[in-house]
């Protein structure tokens, strides 16, 4: 958004200037490096990802630096956040035995949430997770963790064998094995990553379209109506995105918890 809105403002691209609508696209997700170190370019999404990590670290550090038995101030918020993840995400999937995974799930949820919510903060206004390169490392962490836990708790052969529920006739096994293997090793992690990326990418694109259109159509004529309509939609998408940013972090973390649960607990 920053890119296009900035370009629009500086170029004065407007319907009355005779320039066509500068439709947002992939170019809005490509950033020129802020600075370079050799051939490595440090871009705005990288800066935002580091900022997101710092926000999470500083928040929880401030909350639990000197924990009190009766929580006050930011410790209240920190405890609320942790208990929320424990009761809404961890316990429903893993039960009490899964409490050791709480630090992972809390970090994962808040890191993703803050990266997503960057989209809605003025000046920052870019969701880091709309660049898929920032999503894959998170997916790989989860993927290797549940593979490791599965092999550790069920053994390599048991883990593979348990992918197909017992009681299936053996000819069916032959038909199902390729489907199960592809589902488990390729499409499960793929959908985990692409869903987060796709939602944030699409949301940012929609916000950009309606924000640019509001400016592009703005005039003291009938165009004002179109601009107002576009502005209303931009506000609507903004409100929707406040929900989506949270929901996507929630879904990613919940699925992580269920995948860990599936690895830890052998088949019935």
């Amino acid at each position: 958004m920053t890119g296009d809105v900035g370009v629009l403002a500086s170029n004065g691209c407007h319907i009355f200037n005779g320039c066509g609508f500068p439709a947002p696209g992939l170019q809005d997700f490509m950033w020129k490096p802020l600075f370079t170190i050799g051939s490595f370019g440090f871009t705005k999404p990288m800066l935002l990802a580091i900022l997101a990590a710092l926000v999470v670290i500083v928040f929880f550090w401030a909350a639990f630096r000197k924990p009190k038995l009766v929580p006050r101030g930011v410790q209240n918020l920190g405890e609320l956040a942790i208990l929320g993840i424990r009761d809404q995400i961890l316990r429903p999937s893993l039960g009490r035995r899964g409490d050791s995974y709480l630090p992972l799930l809390v970090s994962l949820f808040f890191f993703i949430y803050v990266m997503n919510v960057m989209e809605l903060i003025p000046l920052l206004q870019f969701p880091v997770t709309s660049r898929i390169g920032f999503v894959w490392p998170l997916v790989f962490i989860v993927y290797f963790l549940y593979l490791y836990l599965g092999v550790k708790h069920q053994g390599a052969w048991g883990y593979l064998r348990n992918m197909i529920p017992p009681g299936v006739p053996w000819p069916i096994y032959i038909i199902l094995v390729p489907v199960e293997l592809l589902r488990f090793f390729v499409f499960q992690p793929f959908t985990l990553g692409v869903r987060l990326f796709g939602n944030m990418f699409a949301g940012h694109l929609l916000l950009t379209i309606f924000t640019i259109a509001t400016w592009y159509l703005l005039s003291l004529s009938v165009g004002l109506l179109y601009a107002a309509g576009s502005f209303a939609l931009a506000i609507f998408i903004f409100v929707l995105e406040t929900l989506v940013t949270f929901l996507q972090a929630f879904i990613f973390t919940t699925l992580t918890a269920t995948y860990i649960a599936a690895s830890v607990e052998p088949a019935h």
Binding site: I89, P92, V179, T254, A267
Partner: protein, 103 residues
């Protein structure tokens, strides 16, 4: 019911709702992954055979067969979830993994 009892009931309800949400998410995305995996697996087999015997039509046919296999498997594996409230015949609650057949 006492205030303490009400709290316990509310907590249990919230827990059940969270459990249902997690289960729904897992099943939903697993089903979606099955659909993709079935099409990719048998579409791939169809494509390979099609290349060998020079019949390109085997690729889309393989994808359709894969989708049919996935759908049949999804119905077999998750179709039983419709049992009222996920309870056994004796009224005791069924475990999530028992319902989904998952690991």
């Amino acid at each position: 019911m006492s205030e303490h009892g009400d709290d316990a009931v509310t907590r249990a309800r919230k827990q059940a709702a969270a459990q249902g949400r997690a289960q729904g998410l897992e099943v939903g995305w697993t089903v979606f992954s099955y659909l993709l995996a079935g099409m990719a697996a048998y579409g791939g087999v169809g494509w390979l055979i099609g290349r060998a015997v020079h019949i390109p039509l085997l690729f889309p046919v393989g994808m359709l067969v894969g989708m049919a296999i996935s759908l049949a498997y999804i119905i077999h594996r998750y179709g039983r979830q419709g049992s009222p409230g996920g309870v056994r015949g004796d009224g005791s609650p069924r475990d999530r993994r028992e319902i989904t057949g998952d690991r």
